[in-house]
């Protein structure tokens, strides 16, 4: 029958067109993800691995470098993502005003950092924050401090530099999403609020943020995933130092695998910590966003 033949054709085409993608995803993602899960229960050095049960998990709990990497990563997340999302929102709202002059210039300027390679801008930041470098000249010149700040050799300031760097690179990127979403918001709502005498900050919190909730959720999850995987910047600005004060989980996995004596099983266990964190935080973010609706 013609109809069933047509249906079969559609089915063949439907599978045929996605087959290359599925094959590649199967080989280069699903298979290694499962292998990694299996490896996380194995211990040993280099290629000589044997089943170790939960010994890797016990090792995690007693590993001070892991705990440090975990705390660092969560610190970046807790400070950087909210600051960046807030900045991006504020810039987007400002740029959305049709009366603003030079919108195209401001938008392009703020978006520009998003086209740089992570490694390239990391090195720029590293050079600007040298001990006798530009940033110290500025803060000394402005009289903000009396003596130069040891930006990259102090555990606190090194984190500040990393957080500033990521914020510089990604704020404009997130702003673009909000600008897009704001274009779909009906202007008359703001007109009405204005007539009712609602002040600007209240308009921002009561109208803009609730309206953009789905996009904010989307960008928050994307940024959370990105920050939990942080590698390029730290590797090129501080290499994880001073004494692991800026080390991230991804860097630790890299070090465990390719820098120290290879410890594949343990590295896989640490990598699953990131998977679990991403899953947990995404769930929390979904829950928070849904609750307030």
């Amino acid at each position: 029958m013609a109809k069933t033949r047509l249906g079969r054709n559609e089915s063949i085409n439907g599978w045929g067109f996605i087959a290359p993608a599925l094959t590649l995803i199967g080989i280069f993602m699903i298979w290694p993800i499962l292998w990694s899960l299996w490896m996380s229960f194995q211990t040993g050095r280099g290629m000589a691995l044997s089943f170790g049960g939960l010994s890797n998990i016990k090792r995690l709990a007693a590993d001070p470098i892991f705990l440090k990497a975990l705390t660092n990563t969560l610190t970046y997340l807790a400070i950087q993502v909210p600051v960046m999302i807030m900045l991006a929102l504020v810039f987007a709202v400002m740029l959305n005003s049709p009366k603003l002059k030079g919108r195209a210039f401001f938008r392009t300027a703020i978006f520009l950092p998003s086209v740089t390679a992570l490694v390239a801008y990391s090195i720029l930041f590293k050079s600007m924050f040298a001990t006798d470098g530009l940033m110290n000249e500025v803060v000394l010149g402005l009289g903000l401090v009396d003596s130069p700040i040891p930006w990259l050799s102090d555990p606190f300031w090194a984190k500040v530099v990393i957080i500033s760097a990521i914020t510089w690179r990604w704020t404009g990127y997130n702003m673009i999403f909000y600008l897009a979403a704001l274009q779909n918001v009906d202007r008359s709502i703001y007109e009405a609020a204005k007539i009712d005498g609602v002040p600007a900050y209240a308009q921002f919190f009561r109208i803009t943020i609730p309206m953009l909730k789905p996009v904010i959720l989307f960008t928050t999850i994307i940024s959370t995933i990105g920050t939990l995987q942080l590698f390029d910047e730290v590797q090129n600005i501080t290499q994880g130092g001073p004494s692991n004060a800026t080390l991230t989980l991804s860097q630790y996995i890299y070090n465990l695998t390719f820098k120290f004596m290879p410890s594949f099983g343990y590295a896989a266990t640490v990598s699953y910590v990131i998977v679990i964190l991403v899953a947990l935080l995404s769930l929390v973010q979904f829950y928070v966003a849904r609750d307030r609706k």
Partner: protein, 290 residues
């Protein structure tokens, strides 16, 4: 300051506010100040990078933010230290081949997920979306072992193959395909075209701007890729631009002037692409959010 001279909107006129209230003026002062600072902070590192190419390493470390006379010296040192043409070739080769394959494979999948909907494929798509949140770190170790088992370490294919089936790009093409007119496909079918012919001759030309935007995004992803190439590419003649600046930077005494030249060379292609195709790029970003 912007509203002076513009006629009042009808809705506003009724509330009888003939003059601009003071809070509005304050608001625009705040707006312009904040945006100017943001623009300055965003652009300054680019300026720093360009100025840096003309200064010595010591000048840069001491925060010299004006043009110097070391440009040619930095350029020649870079060319002496690194086979820059070879490294640029590596970067372009990996990015171009990777981008072409990604676009082909991801657009085919995005097309099929949208046009041939079935329960099974919807489920697969949902699983793929979930997989978007699995970090690369979670599987880079086995991936490395697979590549070394297959003898692909230190080859272009080791970089290209794992990036080709990009779930985000598949998702992007599926979203864009929602706007593809089904009547075109039906007409092509009546004309006797096979599905792959419809895809090549009807879908691809119609979706040109989607392809253009995706090209920019995927090219930049490939060009800027760091962690995976760092693991898989081991000899200097195979390294990409990004790996090269990173290794210049991690040298025992990094020469920042030379690094700045390399950084400019690395940033230039993506910067040019961005400025030439700016509108498409922003559209492409926006397309992924709808």
């Amino acid at each position: 300051m912007t509203v002076a001279g513009t006629p009042m909107r009808r809705t506003g006129a009724r509330t009888a506010t003939p003059r601009r209230p003071a809070p509005d003026r304050l608001k625009s002062i705040v707006t312009y100040t904040v945006l100017s600072i943001a623009a300055f902070v965003s652009i300054f590192p680019f300026f720093w990078m360009i100025v840096g190419t003309t200064n010595s390493s010591i000048d840069i470390q001491q925060g010299k933010a004006s043009f110097g006379t070391y440009f040619w010296q930095n350029v020649t040192t870079l060319f002496d230290q690194v086979n820059i043409l070879r490294v640029l070739f590596n970067s372009f080769y990996i990015s171009i081949v990777g981008t072409l394959l990604t676009l082909l494979i991801a657009s085919m999948a995005g097309y099929a997920f949208e046009i041939f909907r079935s329960k099974a494929r919807e489920r697969i798509f949902a699983v793929l979306l979930l997989m978007l949140s699995i970090p690369f770190a979670a599987f880079m170790v086995p991936l490395f072992m697979m590549m070394s088992g297959a003898g692909l370490i230190n080859t272009y294919w080791a970089i290209i193959l794992p990036t080709v089936a990009n779930i985000f790009v598949i998702f992007y093409f599926r979203q864009a395909t929602k706007a593809f007119p089904h009547e075109l496909r039906d007409a092509a079918k009546i004309d006797g075209l096979k599905e792959w012919q419809i895809f090549l001759r009807v879908y691809m030309p119609v979706m040109q701007s989607t392809y253009a935007a995706a090209t920019i995004i995927v090219f930049m992803l490939n060009w800027n890729n760091y962690l995976w190439p760092l693991i898989v590419l081991q000899t200097n003649d195979m390294k990409t631009m990004v790996l090269t600046i990173s290794s210049l930077n991690s040298a025992y005494t990094p020469d920042f002037g030379v690094i700045m030249v390399a950084t400019v060379i690395t940033t230039l292609p993506t910067l040019i692409i961005f400025f030439v195709l700016q509108r498409l790029f922003v559209q492409g970003m926006l397309g992924s959010v709808k």
